[in-house]
């Protein structure tokens, strides 16, 4: 635990039921994930750095506190903000849209499932979620990582070429992406598979 050489992926789990939060946390930890659980969609958005009034703020402090989330798993039926609502907000955010989202529900409602998948959810788990379901998470996390890495690589390449010219040019490109995204941890994690 002293040295963070192993990339332990971090999953944010959202469920209003304490019992289910306990379960999902155990399932994820047993599968070697780092876990944060919250009891509502709005709390999830807070952790992710999205407040209601700031829909596009990649500069918010959560990144600096090293809260990198590699996957979000959320219950569908929650009061106030459903898992679907949360999914939508995440996919609408330029800083968060590449984070894979998995929806859980105790009810097998095809229209609900399709709606979520169409909105960009990677998978739909029927509760009770089981250990075997945890194996389905990694491919989505790796895909998300690849997208992020690729985005960074494009930036780095561009910034290398532009640094030979004008630094002003780089500032224009950094408009949307924060420098915090180029964390050394991410590049080293690519080699771990």
């Amino acid at each position: 635990m002293a040295v963070a050489t192993e990339t332990q992926f971090h999953v944010l789990a959202v469920d209003d039921s304490l019992l289910d939060r306990m379960l999902i946390e155990r399932l994820l930890k047993t599968s070697s994930y780092q876990v944060t659980t919250v009891d509502s969609g709005s709390k999830a958005l807070q952790i992710l750095g999205l407040q209601d009034d700031q829909t596009n703020s990649p500069f918010v402090s959560s990144d600096q506190h090293d809260v990198e989330v590699n996957l979000i798993i959320t219950d569908y039926c929650m009061p106030e903000m459903t898992g679907y609502d949360l999914l939508k907000k995440i996919k609408e955010s330029s800083s968060l849209k590449d984070i894979p989202v998995v929806i859980m529900s105790s009810e097998n409602v095809p229209s609900r499932i399709n709606r979520c998948l169409e909105e960009g959810a990677e998978e739909f788990f029927l509760k009770p979620v089981q250990l075997s379901d945890m194996n389905r998470l990694k491919p989505h996390i790796l895909k998300g990582k690849y997208k992020e890495q690729h985005q960074q690589q494009v930036l780095q390449d561009d910034s290398i070429t532009s640094s030979n010219k004008n630094s002003n040019k780089r500032k224009a490109m950094d408009d949307e992406i924060s420098p915090e995204m180029t964390r050394p941890r991410l590049t080293s994690s690519l080699t771990v598979l």
Binding site: S17, L19, M22, T30, S106, K127, P128, L131
Partner: protein
């Protein structure tokens, strides 16, 4: 040592709970999540379940006594209870909840009342049986690891 006979009793107890339909495979799934770091996970989850479910049962009882009944609220409470039962594999309680919820959707008061009595009954029986099961389990637990001291 009494230990292996206790272990047998535990295994038998669990098997009969499943065979008689009180519990389903989800209970075994919970056991898979126990390890050295979380040796009492199943008991903790079950304890939490009964905290949750007892509260819900009480709320349903109250809601049924109100006049006129709020069937939407009753249905929602039934749904929450059913969800909890799913998480621990409380099969019989779950099945009664499903029936109860159907009566709520139909706004059938008599059906609701009759069905709810069954929910309560199954809930109470399961609580009793699981308490006995965990008591037995506790007797085997510490003895298996540390020096065998009587409990």
């Amino acid at each position: 040592m009494e230990h292996s006979s206790l272990q047998r009793q535990v295994a038998y107890g669990k098997k009969s709970l499943v065979d008689q339909g009180y519990l389903d495979e989800q209970f075994y799934e919970l056991e898979e999540l126990e390890d050295e770091a979380s040796p009492n996970f199943v008991e903790e989850v079950v304890t939490l379940f009964f905290c949750d479910s007892s509260r819900l049962v009480a709320n349903i009882e109250q809601a049924l006594e109100k006049c006129p009944q709020d069937f939407r609220r009753l249905g929602s409470l039934a749904h929450q209870l059913k969800d909890s039962t799913t998480s621990i594999g409380a099969l019989r309680v779950k099945n009664e909840c499903t029936r109860f919820r159907e009566y709520c959707d139909e706004e059938n008061l008599q059906g609701c009342q009759g069905s709810f009595q069954k929910v309560k009954r199954e809930h109470a029986i399961l609580k009793q049986k699981l308490e006995a099961y965990f008591q037995l389990l506790r007797q085997t637990g510490p003895a298996a690891r540390a020096t065998c001291s009587g409990d």
